[in-house]
Symmetry: C2
Subunit: 207 residues, 2 copies
DNA sequence: TGCAAAGTTGCAGTGACTGCAAAACGATCC
DNA sequence: GGATCGTTTTGCAGTCACTGCAACTTTGCA
């Protein structure tokens, strides 16, 4: 009983994980992140506190709900582009694809997260602290595409720039979501692409 | 008795703060960050645990020991440059000056921190989570220099790039400190300046 | 049906962090 | 040299995130 790669066990796990993530975001948006205890979250998702920590290493992680498969997925996408595409563009496209998919699958969750992140912007920064392996994965993929030795800065710098772009974009989006999050990330990455040495003029973009 | 701006009280406070920071870094380097309790740190610095938390909001913060005056100092430096200097260069110079000063004043502490950060790179990321106000300060200064409205992305993006550059530089420096940290930060910021759209060739810097 | 592997739970324990109220201390004025 | 006032230090009691461990339950498979 294990045909389409997803057993009953797997389905249950996915549902539990999703329920915990959802409960965390919902309660945090409703009562404020640190007025919510893990006990409440676990109760809302109908599991024990101990189980919560079997799924997420910390409360922070549950709020962001970083998909552990996102890193590998993006790395694969980067490597799948033809050689005519620059490493930079391959990276940018992969990030955008991931964001678009994520928003399509769970837009409501992101709208709630927005509320929480508006109150506690530091949580967004902390979120990236847990994704060191994913960053490494992406940097390796970029490095491979660019034909650079592993010790070169460029890949790591590009990935770090991606995090920075995402952070800035989410912050802007949280204040005013009339522009799609993907657009904002793309714009920010675009600036990183062409260089920050010259500040834009007053009227150019940037809301 | 309050002539040279520094009373006995102030001196004691500075000494206590320094002692706590020093004790945190030293013990973390010696025994591993999470095998050190705040109780031990406080004991080493000869104060109570409660006093530790009067100085630092968290153990993380004590490890990094971010100088609360660093933000204002850098912002001031940025604004002090003549108008012939681009905002980007003003920012870069200010960051470098701060790093150089810091290393000159407490090089030994940074060498110990290096040990800790090699084991736990995530702590460096988390460190930046606590410096939201400083980032805002710097972004405002950059924005003012560039004559941009407050809502523009450029200043925030530049400052975020600075954090990213610093992170990458420290990581590289931790692996091999034969090149000065300032050099590495400068190099990384240089790449942000000229743009990441085109990956460098194999032999260009970055090793 | 029965066995093994994977997942869940409760429990006891550690340690970070907070609010509060009392004590110790430093600055100041007489 | 006190009396006094504002600041800092401290102990204490409490909350909550998080961990290891050892049962217990559920699922996968023969």
């Amino acid at each position: 009983m294990n045909q389409p790669g997803e057993s009953l066990r797997d389905r249950k796990k996915r549902r539990t994980r999703a329920a915990l993530e959802r409960a965390t975001v919902r309660l945090a948006a409703e009562k404020g992140y640190d007025h919510v205890t893990v006990e409440e979250i676990a109760a809302e998702a109908d599991v024990s506190v101990r189980t919560f920590f079997n799924y997420f290493a910390s409360k922070d992680e549950a709020l962001i709900g970083a998909d552990p498969e996102a890193g590998p997925r993006m790395a694969e996408r980067i490597l799948a582009f033809p050689d005519t595409v620059t490493p930079f563009e391959a990276y940018r496209s992969s990030v955008l694809a991931e964001i678009t998919d994520e928003l399509n699958n769970a837009r409501d969750l992101w709208l709630l997260r927005k509320e929480v992140l508006m109150q506690r912007p530091d949580l967004l920064v902390r979120a990236f602290a847990n994704s060191a392996e994913s960053e490494q994965l992406l940097a390796d993929a970029v490095g491979q595409r660019a034909g650079l030795p592993e010790s070169h800065v460029y890949p790591r710098l590009l990935v770090a720039a991606g995090s920075a772009a995402f952070r800035c974009a989410v912050t802007r989006w949280a204040r005013d979501d009339s522009v799609a999050l993907g657009e904002l990330v793309s714009e920010a990455l675009g600036l990183f692409g062409t260089g920050l040495a010259h500040a834009p003029r007053r009227h150019e973009g940037g809301s």
